[in-house]
């Protein structure tokens, strides 16, 4: 094994060689022309000229490499009494189907879509479906109030919003749809469509123009293929608070993101394919990362981690179900 100092020195003294080597772990539709374009500082662009698809790298290639039957996602939510395991093949099929449905609704490469969902596997499916089409997604944390969502709608200008009907927060149910309607009332930009994933415990009223039911639109959807995008094309926009007013929309590209996160899973976390990466809380934008390297990704709803750790009888029964 190389030691840290060697690796670190190489990464700084010869970053292009270092990251080009790391990029070999990613599947490219077309290799890059230049590793690092530093012609316009302080804007630096990695893997200029390269083409890839992040969803392909995160999902499809694991199926093609024979991992299809293995578990990709473990979802464990005591608040809704659910444990679900999703295999790589199932994940690919769900993502491809949703992507096909979004495409049929008019979503295409370069569009933006806001995802406003709690931490359920469908949130991950939605992010990956966007990436599959080259659609730029922006995850807005499902606890933000209507006017904060409105600010992000005006800035990101999404063609559509993908949301859940609601979530469970603590012991209470929180309906998302009224929040989204209030946000759209306030925003200047009006998304054309709202795609709502109805949860068992809470049915949203789909009475607004452009409202669509997730489960309905995937019924006859033709699965969509991965669309190659430029390495420098945006993968997602993630809003973060600035000190004043308008949040900052951090733009992440496809190529650099895939390369760096794939590298970090082994080198920082020491994770190998098949290892289980537990992630009880979600930072938007981070969810798709571990699966780049065929890890199993164990999601748990907020609070469940605490509940599981605290309620021994429940855990023995079935870890909070």
């Amino acid at each position: 094994m190389e030691n840290y100092q060697e690796v670190f020195d190489k990464s700084l003294n010869n970053p292009e060689e270092f990251w080009a080597e790391a990029a070999e772990a990613i599947s490219w539709h077309k290799k890059w022309d230049i590793v690092l374009d530093s012609s316009d500082p302080p804007f630096y662009r990695w893997f200029r000229g390269g083409e890839l698809n992040t969803c392909y790298n995160a999902v499809d290639r694991h199926v093609e490499n024979g991992h299809g039957d293995r578990t990709a996602i473990i979802y464990d939510s005591p608040v809704t009494d659910t444990v679900r395991k999703i295999s790589w093949t199932e994940l690919r099929d769900q993502v491809a189907t949703l992507a096909g449905a979004l495409k049929a609704q008019g979503a295409e490469k370069g569009d933006t879509i806001i995802i406003y969902m709690p931490m359920i596997p469908e949130a991950l499916v939605a992010m990956l479906a966007c990436a599959r089409l080259g659609v730029i997604h922006s995850v807005v944390f499902g606890g933000f109030a209507a006017n904060e969502l409105a600010i992000r709608i005006d800035h990101a200008q999404p063609k559509m919003i993908i949301c859940a009907s609601g979530a469970i927060e603590g012991k209470k149910q929180l309906a998302y749809k009224p929040l989204i309607e209030a946000a759209i009332d306030q925003s200047e930009h009006k998304p054309e469509k709202s795609i709502v994933f109805q949860r068992d415990f809470l049915q949203a009223d789909l009475g607004q123009p452009g409202d669509l039911d997730w489960q309905e639109i995937i019924k006859d959807a033709e699965p969509a293929d991965c669309v190659p995008v430029a390495a420098t094309d945006p993968l997602y926009i993630l809003y973060t608070s600035g000190t004043t007013g308008m949040p900052k929309g951090v733009m992440r590209d496809n190529g650099g993101h895939a390369v760096a996160l794939q590298w970090s899973m082994k080198n920082i976390y020491n994770m190998e394919p098949g290892d289980v990466f537990g992630r009880p809380r979600m930072w938007a934008g981070w969810s798709a990362i571990p699966i780049l390297s065929t890890l199993r990704f164990c999601m748990a709803a907020p609070r469940s981690f605490m509940k599981e750790s605290l309620s021994a009888p429940r855990m023995q029964e079935h870890s909070g179900g």
Binding site: P15, K248, N267
Partner: protein
Amino acid sequence: MIAEHKVKVLFTAPTAFRAIKKEDPKGLLLKDYDLSEYKALFLAGERLDPDTYHWAKDLLEVPVIDHWWQTETAWAIVANPMGIEQFSVKPGSATKSVPGYDVKILDSEGNEVGPGEEGNIVIKLPLPPGTLATLWRNEDRFVSSYMSRYRGYYETGDGGYIDEDGYVFVMGRIDDVINIAGHRLSTGAMEEIVASHSQVAECSVIGLDDALKGQKPLGLVVLKAGTDCEVEELNKELIHMVRNGIGPIACYRETVIVTRLPKTRSGKILRGTMRAIAAGKEYRMPSTIDDPSCLEEVATALEMIGYPVEQS
């Protein structure tokens, strides 16, 4: 979850562990589970205080690995690179700069400082792949927010130091963003809402250390002249307003009424000084303060609601 799903690495925020520490300080429930597959706990999203570090490490008997990164960078800037070489942990430090990140500490003039000296944490350009390419539809702000203060460097907005062994210690934000249970929220946004209350003349929201959530907001409010209101009632209304305006995650719960806010002669509110008073830390009287007696008034008002909290 760890036992049932054979989780090898768990990745969460320190706040989750502080919550468990509060409910089950001795970790008695842990004994019921088989954690033989469990290899490491990674924490991020906010500063891992040495207290929580020791607690988690002693109980879990696995390496407790703090690592530091920002929304902007998407992945770790400072970490213990378990897949390359595992270093012994120094409590309070997220360990070493991750390959790809040339982390430096600069003073306010932009000069690099020596080992152990606190300053602004910056990263020499270019940043590695995966980090923010720009701000969406706002290239000017990308430059002004991150790239203009120190030419050739990305400004993290965090302060800290690097010790003689290359361990990076991140001490917290230099600006007015506070970190509540891993969520970065702007005190400025909360101030806007508090200030919009009909009886509030002026206000400042500061972040205080919180044993559970890492940080929590506290509002210091100057009432409009001639208004007469109960602080409890006002507090209730402000809680409601912040909840509606930002969301429950802001955790705004406390308001204190003061006669005036400490300011510099140029009118800048001295948030850092008030934070120090509320936390019971020593502070240096800012040379630019307009009226030093104002700080005593703030200290008295804070004392009445129990700040600084006495250390046990």
